[in-house]
Symmetry: D2
Amino acid sequence: MDRLAARVRAFAEEREWQQFHTPKNLAMALAGEVGELLAEFQWLTSEQSTEIMSDPEAGARVRAKIGDVMIYLTRLADVLGIDLVEAAMTKLDEVATRYPIEQVKGSAAKR
Amino acid sequence: MDRLAARVRAFAEEREWQQFHTPKNLAMALAGEVGELLAEFQWLTSEQSTEIMSDPEAGARVRAKIGDVMIYLTRLADVLGIDLVEAAMTKLDEVATRYPIEQVKGSAAKR
Amino acid sequence: MDRLAARVRAFAEEREWQQFHTPKNLAMALAGEVGELLAEFQWLTSEQSTEIMSDPEAGARVRAKIGDVMIYLTRLADVLGIDLVEAAMTKLDEVATRYPIEQVKGSAAKR
Amino acid sequence: MDRLAARVRAFAEEREWQQFHTPKNLAMALAGEVGELLAEFQWLTSEQSTEIMSDPEAGARVRAKIGDVMIYLTRLADVLGIDLVEAAMTKLDEVATRYPIEQVKGSAAKR
């Protein structure tokens, strides 16, 4: 994870792209990549979507797009000084309190 | 990273949410969270966006939303059997070849 | 349609929000609203999503969010000098050529 | 507007795509197109984004993508039985009450 953040940062700095990599711009780029990921699933049924990785072409596209999303998310967190795993862990603690197991088990009124 | 993926998985399984966590649904949830993140930056200038973490309230919201995005991205990758860091590293190798340093340095015609 | 565009424009000008309503910012705001719309559908099956308007609460939320999306799309098109209906009609002509009826009928390899 | 909705509906029905055009799927498709639109603006400054239509190539891409967004939004509203212009007008009435002119004039704490 730290190695990835460092590589993404070096990648941007070598190309002198820091000027473009403001949080605002990176959030847009992240959203653009997520839009491409959505497009892979939009016409599939939920059941079909669970089998997507067994299709070599679609699977490769999904893997590449998830890679893109992760690159921009890592870069965005890095320029904001946020530790990605820590932010997720902290948030998970909060939602665990908000959605106690016994109250939400199997329920669709979930996240 | 592995610990995060395991925790997110346990979180979903304890609540019997696996039934909802198809790749299609998770991609939508990811996009929804990214939409909330965008909303934090939409009326800021690029310069203002670089200072957002020095505002305690906005900073806390951004951190929480980045945590949400990371949770859903981790869960999506997990149900697809994709290693998030590896997918990003592989993609970084590809884009490094596509955007050679000497050709794109400082240029806006980049990603 | 023209009346809507005029009202949205007046709404922004009365509040002196033109300064914030650059195409870049409006595209982000549009994406943020679409993210909220996605959230209404993310845990529903496709079948359930076809029944959403018969639930008064969810139906009202969907209607309000579609209204928000339309407001920002109208405003974005207006500041860019694009006629929304004409742009859609032109695009429809193009995709009709790209997806001839006899070739794509009933097929999932569509958009 | 009504003519557009009718044309989009005919377009889908001729191709027997109604089966794919559930609200859930259409919301995803809409978000995917908005993601492509974001990509046109992500590395531009706000100022540059206001000039985008004077670049023939970028301008044509933006027009085409706005057309795509409008097509899916029209189709989504149609399958849900929502009148797009009316939904926007109703929402505008609500936000006008929420953001009285004298209180928000020129302020960034806006929508």
